[in-house]
Amino acid sequence: MKTLKERQDELVEEFSMFDDWLDKYEYLIDLGKNLEPFPEELKTDDRLIKGCQSRVWLDAEAKDGAIVFRADSDAIITKGIISMLISVYSGRRAEEIAGDDFSFVDRLGLKENLSPTRANGLVSMLETIRNIAQNNR
């Protein structure tokens, strides 16, 4: 398994290959479509992330000392974004996640290029992941 830093660098590089924002959206849409199916019964209010215009559910499960994240959204671009976050953080130890400064998101250039409501959603997603990690330490 790659280190957290390696995976983040890889993602930033992948994302920077697209010049046009519509291409970046195409990429996120693809990621969203390919996200592993999320069980319907897990779509509960306590798994909903607040602060997004669309609905985003995040499930966290402790497995062999690591946290496994699964997620879903009714909007496909949001689903692509959460898919990206899962690919970075899922399967890692709580200490490692909680210790991250989450600055790779700034390097992706996502925050400034999404509408404020969406950026808020992104911030809420990151906060939720961080909180889960801190509570599982």
């Binding site: 215009q53 609905r55 671009i77 969406r118």
Partner: protein
């Protein structure tokens, strides 16, 4: 006057977003401001900043004159008297004022207020709050599948306990013009009052409040080309006189003693604290702009855009348009150039994000009308709302971009 000439008055139309020309289709959220409004605003800020209605000095009297001239202009435009025009910070403030003060004066336990299902939260939550405070009952007048208000049910809904009916002139989601005059007749013949949310209605068409005969009419300046933070509550004189003030302080008083306070006459009674003296006078050039837009060629352009979209949008597979114009309940429900819709298998937010990157500004989400979203079984919609400065070319670009965005999401 042609549209290109009109566009020169609105400098923001020259903006580029992500390197593409801005296509501004979020006019129902807030309109753009013409040069005349901006220069009035700047002039008052740069040269005539002074508190109004109180000081005797020269600058203050100029500022007061500008402010009161705006009140007279608004009154003349609406065909009412200046004493019936209360300046507020916007529609929301206007309705909250009405809800509080009307409630205090006329509503008691067990009384009823009727609101329509298509109300913006700003003409809904204040009534819920007032009903809770007064232990009154809130009743809902529904809309049908086409989005047309069920005015055939209104008469039988009004009881002897009904004090007020609150409907929007034009819903910010459905874009249909409600038959206010007919609604006012029903209300008055049953002995209750009518408040109209004119946030969208004051911009599309020229409301003659004497003719419509509503008892209150609330609207915002910022949606009708004036400065943000400006608004109006029109109320019939005898009602405003009978209502207690909403907020206390500033120049809303007659005399203040430890033994009690008397209040200034209407409308000052409702204008507590320092008023928006730089903003309110921009209603004058804003109204001049509205009058300029009552031009045959300008009207033809926006009518063509409306007709074109009414024909083309429903042709897109999976697209559902909300608010269909036509005859119902003995009334003709006309459509303003405001189109809310959903597309099967495409989330409104995804569409809005992609269209944004194509330079198109429009609205997605619940549009401050959650009960109406529930009514139609959706979590949100997409809304394109046009102004007279929008062109047929922009309309075509919007349509082709929308189709492209749908394809991106489907692929």
């Amino acid at each position: 006057m042609d549209v290109q000439e009109l566009r020169k008055e609105f400098t923001q139309l020259d903006e580029k977003v992500y390197g593409k020309p801005l296509v501004y289709l979020d006019n129902a959220a807030t309109s753009l401001r013409p040069r005349g409004v901006v220069s009035k605003w700047v002039e008052l800020s740069e040269r005539y900043s002074a508190n109004i209605h109180r000081a005797v000095h020269h600058i203050s009297s100029i500022a007061t004159e500008e402010y009161e001239h705006a009140r007279e202009t608004v009154a003349a435009y609406l065909n009412v008297s200046p004493g019936e025009v209360v300046f507020t910070s916007g529609t929301t403030a206007s309705v909250n004022l009405a809800a509080f003060s009307f409630g205090e004066a006329f509503v008691g336990e067990g009384d009823e207020i009727i609101v329509s299902e298509s109300e913006h939260h700003s003409d809904l939550v204040p009534w819920q709050m007032m009903c809770e405070r007064k232990r009154a009952v809130l009743k809902v007048l529904e809309v049908d599948e086409e989005g047309r208000l069920r005015i055939d049910e209104l008469g039988s809904m009004i009881s002897r306990r009904t004090k007020l009916v609150c409907v929007t002139h034009v819903s910010n989601v459905l874009g249909l013009v409600n038959p206010i005059k007919a609604i006012a007749e029903i209300c008055h013949s049953h002995g209750c009052r009518l408040l109209v949310d004119g946030a969208q209605g004051a911009v599309h068409g020229h409301p003659d409040l004497k003719d419509l005969d509503c008892d209150f009419y609330a609207f915002s300046g910022h949606k009708m080309y004036a400065a943000p933070g400006t608004g109006v509550l029109y109320g019939k004189k005898e009602l405003l006189d009978a209502m207690p003030p909403y907020m206390g302080g500033g120049e809303m008083v007659g005399s203040v003693k430890w033994s009690g306070t008397t209040y200034a006459p209407v409308p000052l009674k409702f204008e507590a604290g320092t008023q928006n003296f730089a903003g309110a006078p921009t209603m004058v050039p804003a109204i001049r702009m509205l009058e300029l837009m009552e031009d045959a060629e300008i009207e033809r352009n926006i009518d063509e855009i409306t007709a074109y979209l009414l024909e083309e949008l429903p042709k897109i597979p999976g697209l559902r348009l909300y608010g269909i114009p036509g005859e119902a309940y003995g009334q003709d429900f006309r459509k303003i150039p405001l189109f809310s819709f959903s597309v099967e298998h495409c989330h409104h937010e995804d569409l809005a994000l992609i269209l944004d990157k194509m330079g198109i500004a429009l609205r997605s989400g619940q549009m401050c009308a959650e009960p109406l979203m529930d009514r139609f079984g959706v979590t949100g919609m997409l809304r394109a709302s046009f102004a007279p400065y929008n062109t047929m070319e922009e309309t075509g670009y919007f349509l082709s971009s929308l189709k492209k965005a749908i394809k991106m999401l489907e692929a």
